[in-house]
Amino acid sequence: MDFGYSEDNERFRQQIKDFLKANVSREFRAEVREMQGKGMGPLAKELILKIGEKGWIGMSWPEEYGGRNADRIDQYIFEEELVRARVPLNIGNFIEQAPAIMSAGSEAQKKYFIPRLVRGEVTFALGYTEPSGGTDLASLKTRAVEDGDEFVINGQKTFTSGAESASHIYLMARTDPDSPKHDGISIFLVPIDTPGITIRPLWTLAGGRTNEVFFDEVRIPKTAILGEKNQGWYIGSKALNLGRAGAMRYYTYVSLFEETLYFARSNPLGQQLMADEIARDKMAELYCEAQVARLFTLRSLSMIRRGINPPYEISSEKVWGPEFLVKSTEVVSQILGPYHQLWEGSELAPHRGSFPKRYVSAMVSTFGHGSTQVMRDAIARRGLGLPRGAV
């Protein structure tokens, strides 16, 4: 066991911190607030390209695809520092498609997409969930029908976050309605500006945006398919598992607690509230549980680094982290009391009034990207070998 970072790791962390300090400006933060739900502003695009130029996106990928074969731990450090600096570039969302493209894509797809993903020029929105279901993903109804050299797509996706700013949609569609449901699905890499695609915003409680995406006679060349026809389920589920690992997610779960901890130490109101021993006990409890979230992530990374695809450990992260986040919103709200309900605009509001927003948005973590119930199914069946029920 080795729970320490090497000197190289520490040097790299410092490099990231220095970069963020130099490049994340007041103007950038103002733009992020301004552009919420409207896509990516010019400063955000500029920053992502700069990060891409540094070679930090997908740095652990093979060199031939634009990566640097870098240590996965360095990638973890990069993601951790990015989220810690509250840079809301959801890099995790688009790099998670890269492993699938690398393992299943054609040479032309690898050559086109991977370097562009690395440079931040290509970003994917995930076209999985449909109005009829997300958890039972394999029941999806969107159809892709072959017509000459093309596929014609008709159907609808929903909760397609980031579609407003993505360059492509990573689309799961049914290519064989007669096979068992898992065996008739294919994945397509579809430019989001293809005629026939309509995006409609869905506004969330926290003031954020997700989307519905409609496909009406959308024609794409056959070369847009990823891997073999009807193999999409298997290509996608592997990528989904790996996509749940990484600091990006872990840190999203614990950042609320870390910021509250900072507030408790450094803000006069925070210190006043910490005079109560019961409040301190609650904070200490959250601290302990946040460490479990961190260690679960490091465990998954340690396994992936050894070439093991974790059978259940990533699902544990995805149960523990989101439930920790929801619990921390509850605890923090009961420590801050009436101050916690204040939105941006009040001088009395801690953290620029971000707490109520995070209180209502925390719920997304326990169902977005696979509900905690489905994760528990996976832990029990894949991890512990418990049998499927007779239906």
Binding site: D2, G4, C288, V292, L295, S316, W320, I379, G389
Partner: protein, 379 residues
């Protein structure tokens, strides 16, 4: 950074596990618990022969230099196998002797401990069960070339088997907190020292000690007179993390038994493990115990590196104290009726994990330390 066990660690774990499956069967655990003997002498001898009592100790005294985490992994297996031997109290005392004892003390004590000829105990806690050194009030007065001890100690582990007990006492009257603390090795048959066994949930051997003007030669002071505060805290912390390791090891075994049970036990025509309600309980159990394990390993690793680990140790203990028994309670619920039956083995682990969670500091007390370590206590 690789938080998994390396090859050597896996080998150590596998060997210890295989040995204890063979040498510490539940029949033996039950026999010792029933009271025919205080511990299993044959198992103690074999543990010594395997070198387990010398892990992390200098070769000079017959030990095997190894990282402290190796000892932690061994204690996980001791917990898993419920080994009925006083290895925890003996090594907690011996590690402190090794840390701050004089060369002469080490030479006269450690080879005998490592060889399995001498058992030790440690006496730290007093009435109230506090884990802060301020609670140590057992008075030690210097008189000539002796310390004279008066007062009480509670929850003293393995005292009855031990030849000597490392006692934490307050040697400067009126001192507070970590000041004026002395560690002294007391013969368990000293005149004026009486003890009475406390009946416990886990059936282990704990005593209340009563010191009635017990004279101990100053030569038995371990470390510096009046300046043992830091060493007393370090002794406590090592005891705590090895206790966590035992809890984690025992918990893994109990939840594995539960998963196997859920696969075999049938109801309504199918294994109960195929019901989602049971599956989700199992998923929680493994998540909690895995979390407890990782926290324990991180603290062990920090200690191995000589890094400050108070925060990590108390984090692990606070979490283990709550989540390990919770996982075993779920295990009981899945087993249902049979879980309460004495002759069914599950209860052996359940009572131990429960009892271990109640000792060496509650989750509330350890979170108090965490709160201090994360700097949220107002100045």
């Amino acid at each position: 950074m690789d938080v998994l066990l390396n090859d050597d660690e896996e080998l150590l774990r596998d060997q210890a596990r295989a040995f204890l499956i063979k040498e510490s069967p539940t029949a033996l655990v039950r026999e010792v618990e029933a009271g025919s003997k205080d511990y299993d002498a044959a198992l103690w001898k074999k543990a010594a022969e395997l070198g387990w009592l010398g892990i992390t100790f200098p070769e000079l005294y017959g030990g095997t230099p190894a990282p402290f985490s190796d000892l932690g992994l061994l204690f996980e297996e001791m917990g898993r196998g419920m080994a009925p031997i006083p290895i925890h109290p003996t090594l907690v005392a011996a590690l402190t002797i090794n840390e701050i004892g004089s060369a002469q003390q080490k030479e006269s004590l450690l080879p005998a401990v490592i060889g399995g000829y001498k058992m030790l105990s440690w006496a730290w806690f007093e009435h109230g069960g506090d884990i802060d050194l301020a609670s140590v009030q057992l008075a030690a007065k210097v008189e000539g070339d002796c310390l004279r001890l008066s007062g009480n100690k509670l929850f003293v582990d393995g005292f009855q088997q031990a030849d000597q007990c490392l006692v934490v006492c307050r040697s400067q009257s009126g001192s507070t907190g970590n000041e004026g603390i002395t560690l002294v090795l007391v013969d368990t048959d000293s005149e004026g020292l009486s003890h009475s066994r406390l009946p416990t949930l886990a059936g282990d051997i704990q005593d209340e000690l009563c010191f009635d003007d017990v004279a101990v030669p100053l030569g038995n002071v371990i470390g510096q007179l009046h300046e043992g505060g830091e060493a007393a805290v370090a002794m406590f912390e090592r005891a705590v993390i090895l206790n966590c390791a035992m809890m984690v090891g025992a918990s893994h075994k109990a939840i594995e038994m539960t998963f196997e049970y859920a696969k075999e036990r049938e109801a309504f025509g199918q294994p109960i493990g195929s019901f989602q309600a049971i599956q989700h309980m199992c998923a929680n159990m493994v998540t909690w115990v895995d979390g407890a394990t990782l926290l324990t390993h991180e603290a062990l690793w920090k200690l191995s590196q000589g890094l400050p680990a108070s925060k990590e140790i108390s984090t692990a203990k606070a979490f283990c104290n709550e989540r390990c028994p919770a996982a075993l309670r779920e295990g009981n619920q899945i087993h249902a009726g049979i879980a309460q039956i004495k002759e069914y083995d599950l209860q052996l682990w359940y009572r131990r994990v429960a009892a271990w969670s109640m000792r060496m500091g509650t989750s509330i007390q350890h979170r108090r330390i965490v709160a201090r370590e994360i700097d949220i206590v107002p100045k």
